[in-house]
């Protein structure tokens, strides 16, 4: 029985370390290869030994697909390809391919240079890993091999994020990666056609949340920033360099311009300027409005936002600082946080989701005394605000996408188990499809019944049509033909038996029967034949019965000859001769004739 198997190595009932194995139509595909921000030990990367303990991964995987450049989706890639060993193709979109190595390098630097980890992947490994990447266009059908094809759809979320359809024959799976169903200030909304996959694997970060209108959130955000700045406080906004950073910059930039504020806005690290450059060059991936106006005014050229210098953190007076990384787990954002945390005039705004174990997660869950390195305790007096600007679909959005794609079943990943449970019920109720939520290492198996494409020869089809009956779904009909498998497994041909013999270079073997039927009839053979003819003609109204000049009678292609009996002149022998193909009719005729002929009118 054909089936689709799915095993999450990461992101099963969890956020972080996205890595999902899919087996479909005999092909194995790995979806995403992320790291976990909440761990610093072995658990930060997926356990690839699940795939194989001693062989090369290349032998067990047909391809790897990366949905977008966030590290929880691509952070383990160099470890996976260079340290564990994988040489097959890695697919991602162009912007992801451009930005991914920069974030990986950044991640490596923090891990190795700052934390002093040994046995981490090197810069060269990142480069070698990126050489295995094949960039894909949106909607391009990429033929991984003769049978496996993949196709990318726009996912919003971050620049270059994509959902992927994986297809073998008539079976398919869609993996959403992270997506956003509402357009924001710089990205468009995710979109997919009614592709009716066997399975939709969707993220479920906000499985239970239905967010209020975006406008309200934006107004709220601006109000809080404005108030803090007015009273001379400093605002820290931890962000990742690419993504929400640009969204919030556009928001603040337009607000500063409108209200004419003078407090400086800074953007930390050199990466960000570079990041804005990516947005300018990949402007075709942003939303309609930005694309339309970019010639007149490029939204990613900011007038009010300046580069940040470490020394600015101690400057007196109000300021707004965007600093990386977004979950306050390391780097500049954490440094600034420690400096400003003690002053109640200041504010930190967390604009996105924080993984368990990070400082971000701790302060959001209300912790006000933090244990830092060296047993230091940091008391947080500054205001802590959480404002969901993460570009994930909320419950409504997820339901909307399920409705768009019309899958046969749904599988939830990238979310918390409790929230998934709720969404699972909702999906099962509303769409009447099965919904799964496997934990890491747990396998979901879905039986499928793919149809098999076959080429039917026009000759055979026309012969069938010649019978004058139109196809009727309610009344199945037997069609006799021969299925030939040529060249490759996937090319079947349905042809007539004659053609099949010809194509295979085989001769037909004729099987013929001749039955002797004894009749009591003292008349001459010709007369017997004539009686046989008129009898058959009257019985077989729908058949072609002929009396040939040589005295023999034919019914369709069955030949009947009358001969004298060698010993008994009162008996005539009818020789009924037919081929195996006329078996039914031949058999019928002999039994009919055996019963004798009706008395001829004298």
């Amino acid at each position: 029985m054909p089936e689709i198997r799915v095993t999450p190595l990461g992101a099963g009932q969890d956020v972080g370390r996205s890595c999902i194995l899919v087996s479909i139509g005999g092909k194995n595909v790995m979806l995403d290869c992320g790291m976990h921000m909440g761990f610093n030990d072995d658990r930060r990367f997926p356990d690839f030994s699940y795939i194989t303990r001693n062989g090369r991964l290349t032998d067990f995987l047909d391809c790897v697909i990366i949905s977008h450049f966030h590290l929880d989706h691509c952070g383990a890639l160099p470890y996976f390809s260079e340290m564990v060993g994988y040489d097959g193709p890695i697919y991602m979109t162009h912007p992801t391919q451009a930005i991914c190595p920069i974030l990986l390098e950044d991640y490596r630097k923090i891990a190795v240079d700052k934390k002093g980890e040994a046995n981490f992947f090197t810069s060269q490994m990142i480069k070698d890993c990126m050489k295995k990447v094949v960039a894909v266009h949106l909607h391009q059908t990429v033929q991984v091999d003769d049978e496996l094809e993949i196709k990318a759809y726009y996912a919003g979320h971050v620049l270059g994020a994509a959902m992927f359809q994986i297809k073998v024959g008539s079976e398919s799976v869609v993996y959403t990666g992270d997506y956003n169903m509402t357009p924001d200030r710089h990205l468009g909304a995710a979109w997919i056609d009614k592709c009716r996959p066997n399975l939709l694997i969707t993220e479920s970060t906000y499985a239970t949340t239905i967010r209020d209108s975006k406008r309200c959130r934006e107004r709220d955000f601006l109000k809080k920033v404005h108030e803090t700045v007015e009273r001379g406080g400093k605002v820290l906004i931890p962000v990742f360099a690419l993504g929400r950073a640009q969204e919030l910059c556009i928001l603040l930039e337009t607000f500063w311009e409108r209200v004419n504020l003078k407090a400086p806005i800074y953007f930390s690290t050199g990466l960000t300027e570079k990041a804005n450059h990516y947005y300018k060059l990949f402007i075709t991936w942003t939303n309609q409005k930005i694309r339309k106006t970019f010639v007149q005014r490029n939204m990613f050229e900011f007038k009010h936002i300046k580069a940040f210098d470490r020394a600015f953190a101690d400057n007196p007076g109000p300021m707004v600082v965007f600093a990386t990384p977004g979950m306050l787990h390391a780097g500049q954002s954490l440094q600034i946080f420690r400096k400003w945390a003690g002053n109640e005039k200041n504010m930190v705004i967390m604009p996105g989701y924080c993984v368990q174990g990070t400082v971000g997660h701790k302060i959001l869950s209300g912790q006000r005394k933090l244990e830092m390195e060296g047993r230091q305790v940091l008391e947080v007096k500054m205001q802590v605000e959480y404002m969901s600007f993460s570009a994930h679909a909320d419950a409504k959005g997820i339901m909307q996408l399920v409705g768009q794609a019309e899958p046969e079943s749904v599988l939830l990943v990238h979310g918390e188990a409790k929230k998934m449970e709720f969404l699972k019920q909702k999906i099962e109720q509303e769409f009447r499809v099965n919904c799964y939520m496997p934990a890491n290492g747990e396998t979901v198996t879905l039986p499928t019944s793919p149809s098999i494409p076959v080429g039917i020869s026009l000759g055979l089809l026309k012969r069938e049509m010649a019978q004058g009956l139109l196809p009727n779904a309610k009344k199945p009909r037997l069609l006799h033909g021969t299925l030939i498998m040529k060249d490759s497994v996937s090319s079947f041909q349905l042809v007539s038996s004659e053609q099949a013999l010809k194509e295979l270079g085989l001769a037909e073997h004729q099987l013929r029967f001749t039955c002797r039927v004894h009749l009591h009839d003292s008349r001459k053979e010709q007369e017997t034949a004539a009686r046989v003819y008129s009898h058959l003609k009257s019985v077989l109204k729908d058949h072609c019965v002929q009396h040939l000049p040589d005295g023999s009678v034919t019914v369709e292609s069955i030949l009947i000859q009358a001969a004298a009996h060698s010993e008994d002149p009162g008996t005539k022998v009818l020789l009924v001769s037919w081929t195996y193909q006329d078996e039914e009719l031949g058999s019928y005729l002999t039994s009919l004739l055996k019963k004798g002929l009706p008395q001829a009118p004298s």
């Binding site: 059908t141 010639v295 098999i452 080429g455 199945p476 001769a507 193909q581």
Partner: protein
């Protein structure tokens, strides 16, 4: 399956393909060479042009002198310029289901088709094609609407009058179909009917046909198209290039196994090598500027200009031209330069790598930043303040009939220090210059056409092996001016089928198969009749002879067959050899079985039980089909 050929211009094609009950228009090219018969539209009142004498017939009859003007022995129509449209009568264009666009030069007739023929279908094109196509149309409309001309000439088009005119007006074809330019409103409406597609995207049309654009290597977003059903494949090759310029390289592999390959858009200058031409362009430009002259480059606002600017970027400093201003004047100059930088995914590998750094893929960004290249929407406004000579000006239109180029021709034409360099291959430069004669300025002809030449075509055809090639008639014979050059035509086996304007071609397809789907499990068998009574009646029914028994194949090994017979209780089996095989005799049953290589004949008494037993034994040795 048929091909309706609506355009006679081989590089500006417009064909309609009827394929498996869909009607597909391939490209929508607009033949603008017709404008060469018109007087230029000057931006600034030109006493020279307005004082040209009217033309009169040999017998002195001057009734046409309002419409036709004479300049240096050539006659021009004094009217709003008009374009030669694709054929609109050959096929009902409202029945066209989809239009496939291959590159931005081949969509210029789109508004005429989508807005005025009852067309209700969808147009497919890549994003760069649409964006740059929009710029080309915008520029064209702007050039023409900027200089309103009241006069529209029609008298000369009368067949009886046209006959009396001098060449080339006399020989102009289809003049009755010539139309004035469309409006911006029509352009916007036409473009709104376009659906964007990406390379290698499979687009299903009504479940019957699948179309796929492939990179053609000629321009940003330029594509060839595959039109296929499950068993038939048509490749439409239009404007393709194998040279390494800025666009993504051509995808040749996907063109393989075509039943029919329609080949259009080859180079218009098969004898010129584009690389050599670029070199000549640079050296002539440098020479003129060093001598204190100005250089005028009539060009389209997108395409080859990007490559020329890139060459100049590398050449300027070494040639000592760092202080010479380069001007790019077009209503869409800024947009064109900006758009060129954002299509990373459609660029060649080298340029993609630059974007990944991230740097702008084209070096003209740096030329603009360092103020070496400046762009202006027109000669009016800022340009007149910044204008310094000597300089180099890139501006349109390459036909020299409208656009800012007309002004520079009038301004610089009288001095032999200046040079006009023709790089666009679409218009004959001699004809383009005709209304400016007599001319003192130097003219250099460096046509740069990167599309396939005949050597590349024959290599390509060998590579992709189509069963049949279809192409415009111009490609099946050497160019008229070089009739001895037998190498300047398509050479393939079987010979290419050629078409000309307004012709309908039946495409040679041999359909053998159709796709169906079968389920992996066999269907449930009809339940066997239960009661014995019913069964009996069934056997008495006259059998339906339409139910075919399988064919048989194989041969029967006599020895084994006899052994089998014996095993099944036939004790008196005798075998006789014959010329062609054997006869097996079952004496008691008076039965005879003739066995030959390809046939078996069972002759017996009317004992159905026995016959069926023998039949089944024979069938054991044979394969069923």
């Amino acid at each position: 399956m048929k091909l309706y050929c609506l355009s006679g211009h081989p590089t500006l094609p417009c064909n309609v393909l009827k394929f498996k009950s869909t009607t597909i228009m391939l490209d929508c090219g607009l033949d603008m060479t017709s404008t060469l018969n018109f007087l230029p539209l000057p931006l600034v009142q030109s006493p020279r042009l307005s004082n040209l004498p009217g033309w009169s017939l040999k017998d002195g009859n001057a009734f046409l002198d309002k419409e036709l003007k004479e300049c240096s022995g050539h006659v021009f129509v004094d009217s709003v310029p008009e374009f030669c449209l694709p054929e609109t009568e050959l096929i009902d264009l409202s029945t066209v289901d989809v239009i496939l666009i291959s590159n931005y030069h081949c969509m210029m007739a789109l508004p005429y088709i989508t807005e005025h023929t009852g067309f209700t279908g969808t147009v497919y094109a890549t994003e760069p094609t649409v964006q740059i196509g929009r710029l080309l149309m915008e520029e064209l409309v702007n050039f023409i609407e900027r200089v309103p001309k009241a006069q529209s000439a029609s008298l000369w088009k009368n067949k009886d009058i046209q006959r009396l005119l001098p060449s080339p007006l006399k020989d102009a074809v289809e003049v009755s179909t010539w139309r004035r330019c469309y409006t911006m409103q029509e352009v916007n409406s036409a473009l709104s009917k376009i659906q964007l597609v990406g390379y290698s995207q499979k687009i299903e049309l009504f479940g019957a046909v699948q179309v796929t654009p492939l990179s053609s290597g000629y321009a940003l977003g330029s594509s060839n198209w595959i039109i296929q059903s499950h068993y038939e494949k048509v490749s439409y090759v239009s404007g393709s290039s194998l040279l390494t310029t800025h666009p993504q390289p051509m995808d040749q592999a996907s063109l393989k196994n075509s039943d029919v390959l329609v080949l259009t858009g080859l180079t218009q200058i098969p004898t010129a090598n584009p690389d050599g031409m670029v070199g000549e362009f640079c050296s002539n430009l440098a020479l003129t500027v060093r001598n204190g002259g100005n250089v005028l480059v009539p060009c389209y606002p997108s395409g080859v200009i990007y490559d020329l600017l890139e060459c100049l970027y590398q050449y300027i400093d070494s040639a000592g031209l760092s202080n010479i201003p380069f001007y790019f004047i077009s209503p869409v100059a800024n947009s064109s330069l900006e758009f060129s930088q954002i299509f990373a995914e459609w660029l060649c590998h080298n340029k993609q790598t630059k974007v990944y750094l991230p740097e702008p893929p084209f070096p003209h960004a740096e030329l603009i930043q360092t103020n070496k290249l400046r762009h202006y929407p027109s000669i009016h406004g800022d340009f007149s303040n910044d204008f310094r000579q000597p300089c180099v000006v890139f501006t349109g239109h390459p036909s020299l009939r409208f656009g800012d180029v007309v002004h520079f021709m009038e301004l610089w034409g009288k001095s032999s220090l200046n040079t006009v360099i023709f790089t666009e291959p679409d218009f004959s430069y001699l004809e383009a210059l005709a209304p400016y004669q007599p001319l003192a300025m130097k003219c250099i002809y460096c046509p740069i056409d990167t599309r396939l030449n005949f050597i590349q075509v024959s290599k390509l055809l060998k590579e992709v092996q189509p069963l049949h090639v279809v192409c415009p008639e111009q490609y099946t014979q050497p160019p008229p001016a070089q009739s001895h050059r037998m190498d300047l035509m398509i050479d393939c086996q079987p010979p290419a089928m050629s078409y000309r304007r307004a012709e309908v071609l039946a495409l040679p397809f041999k359909r053998l198969f159709e796709k169906i789907e079968i389920m992996p499990e066999p269907p449930p068998r009809p339940a066997p009749p239960t009661s014995g009574k019913k069964r009996k009646r069934a056997s008495e029914d006259i059998p339906d002879c339409k139910v075919l028994k399988p064919l048989l194949s194989g041969s029967i090994p006599v020895e084994q067959f006899v052994q089998t017979l014996e095993k099944h209780g036939f004790s008196d089996v005798k075998v006789e050899d014959t010329a062609k095989g054997h006869i097996v005799l079952l004496q008691e049953a008076e039965t005879l079985i003739q066995i030959e290589e390809d046939s078996t004949h069972i002759i017996c008494d009317n004992d159905e039980m026995l016959r069926v037993r023998l039949r089944d034994l024979v069938l054991k040795f044979l394969q069923k089909f």
